[in-house]
Symmetry: C2
Subunit: 373 residues, 2 copies
């Protein structure tokens, strides 16, 4: 089912005072000089899809300086229907989101309504930093089409917090109540097994798509592999928890479980992190995210929105050509991409789609746009 | 005094099996597709100047896969003299560095002989992460021209380690020996005061140069400020240590002192970190590093080598133009820059200098070079 944004109105969103924009269902290129607000417009589209900003850690950072509220109004075409998304945000208060004037009670109910995949420069941190962003990458996909996954994840995290608090209180009070600990641990089993199973399935489906994408983008210059690392791969949850119990007691926290899952990235039989160049890391992220997009599309039954921030950055001309071919061949739905003021952007867009629009942003205002179809 | 590298020979350095390159005293552009080894060649030049890699955390990561040793031979012109730098590195063993066949006993003796400033894409982390990289930025400059600073820094860090160990042992043994603690604290005073003084002077000199550079690069679109934050700015070392003693006892570590110094970065009266766009962050880093270069040049009495990795990345065409003008006007010495395969690189280089050479790298081999003078 097609799913695309036809219009957005922003008030006080980051550097925007107020803008109104009509988008095309194909490729929308957002251009402008450094610091003009290209990424901010992309971020408002992401906000529409996921109910929060991708680039800022809280709504306080989304609010335009000196203003008091933020409003995002989007019109979305979903199959034959037209929907109206409205978010009114006053930082510090509960945010109000509605679809067709009907209030959305919880953000988690909204996620998945308009599936989206985003690629941004800082995603390279996914390859370089601790394991948390890699688990988030897996979660980000699954929560968009599997409501039960979201619920199990919330349940697991709540129990994990309780278990850690219990281990800490045992240490402080110098007691050890094994029954109480087991009672919590047993409740964690069901969500842990579900989370592990779904992540495993996701990675199994991601791998062939990722490998294909990487070969296409790199022109087969490097070969890359992803592996899913989880203590649940080779042992039952109850055995793992039994085995780690003594360690948990000493360290006063839960040392094993799906909250320790990770992905390992390999390039040409070496670990990617210390050996990958900037362009190779970028190729890796693009291949991974575009694979994520395919799966999200299949599982959600909707055509996700693809958001590409500074997408050609760091890629040499060969890889840019390969990427454009992928975007053309693999049938993406609505695409938003940002770029620095490129003279040759129409020629680039022609290679992706016959349906494109170009927006040029200057100081939070839309100065010029051209459209083709 | 002029200082530039005329020749480099690499063996088993990262992806290079063996290469020999003659450089020009002006601008050397290193071009190639993603993953070909542009940054690795830049890194070998950095190794010559600072006795270690900038991009890899240990020599093990510098060694070409499957090889056993690394050799870097460089010829450097320093004023009227020609010097020969040789590094032979077998990871896990002590590295051997010599100048004109005379062994360098300690790496710290080598630092400053060939001053250098480097700008690389990951330097943006300096603006985004914890305070350590910002202290390292200050240290990186000072150790290249102030041997006493290096010695005081080593001394301070050694005493800090001792003091922390003492606080830990007091807590474990449930004793409190104030005299012993004071004895160490008093020894820290001299290095702390020296370090603080030198950092303060450095930041005071950096600020006007930085502000000028930022205005030039951004075309005065944003105004940026740096501030030096140190507990020693407003109070005497002994008072600070006296005040924090109780806190140190509880937390079992030294909570105040120059190891907590930081820099604050402001853009348009807001904190840079949450509000700066990718292009603004890059402009900030470039302005800061080029200011560092000017000071290093003045203090060391030598013309430092300037290493610019992926320098045009993220900057819009206006800012690229402004940067080229700075590089032309401000009289830099030898410059090395990397870029993706750009068709218009000769036109770009013409704007910086009449003296330039272009190197194209393919799979760790130098395929082509052109030179103008």
């Amino acid at each position: 089912m097609d799913c695309f944004i036809t219009h957005i109105t922003l008030q006080n969103y980051k550097n925007y005072n107020r803008i109104d924009v009509d988008f095309c269902p194909g490729v929308n290129a957002i251009l402008g000089l450094n610091g003009m607000g290209k990424t901010n417009l992309l971020d408002a589209i992401y906000y529409t899809c996921l109910g929060k900003s991708y680039f800022s850690s809280g709504d306080r950072l989304v609010l335009k300086k000196g203003e008091e509220f933020i409003r995002i109004k989007s019109k979305i075409s979903v199959g034959d229907r037209k929907e109206k998304f409205v978010a009114k945000i006053i930082p510090g208060k509960k945010k109000e989101i509605s679809i067709d004037d009907k209030k959305v009670e919880r953000i988690s109910d909204h996620i998945g309504r308009y599936p989206a995949t985003i690629v941004a420069p800082n995603d390279i941190q996914l390859l370089l930093e601790g394991s948390e962003p890699r688990r988030n990458f897996l979660n980000h996909n699954l929560i968009q089409y599997d409501v039960n996954y979201t619920n199990q994840l919330i349940k697991y995290n709540r129990l994990l917090k309780q278990r850690n608090a219990l281990l800490k209180s045992f240490a402080e009070r110098q007691v050890w109540n094994e029954e109480l600990l087991n009672a919590i641990t047993e409740q964690m089993e069901e969500p842990a097994i579900y989370i592990h199973k779904k992540r495993h399935e996701l990675v199994d489906e991601l791998i062939p798509l990722f490998i294909d994408n990487y070969a296409l983008i790199s022109g087969e210059r490097e070969s890359c592999v992803i592996m899913y690392k989880s203590s649940l791969n080779d042992a039952a949850f109850s055995d793992i928890m039994q085995e780690s119990k003594e360690k948990d007691r000493v360290l006063q926290r839960t040392t094993a479980g799906v909250h320790k899952d990770d992905l390992t990235f390999i390039m040409n039989d070496q670990l990617l992190k210390p050996f990958g160049s900037q362009g190779q890391l970028k190729s890796f992220i693009l291949s991974l995210k575009l694979a994520q997009y395919r799966i999200l599309k299949e599982k959600s039954g909707k055509t996700p929105i693809l958001l590409l921030d500074d997408v050609f950055d760091k890629l040499d001309h060969e890889r840019v050509g390969h990427l454009l071919k992928i975007l053309h061949d693999q049938d993406y739905g609505q695409v938003f991409l940002t770029d620095k003021d490129e003279k040759d952007i129409p020629a680039v867009l022609e290679q992706i789609s016959d349906d494109y629009a170009i927006f040029v942003i200057d100081e939070g205002a839309l100065k010029y746009s051209s459209q083709k179809r």
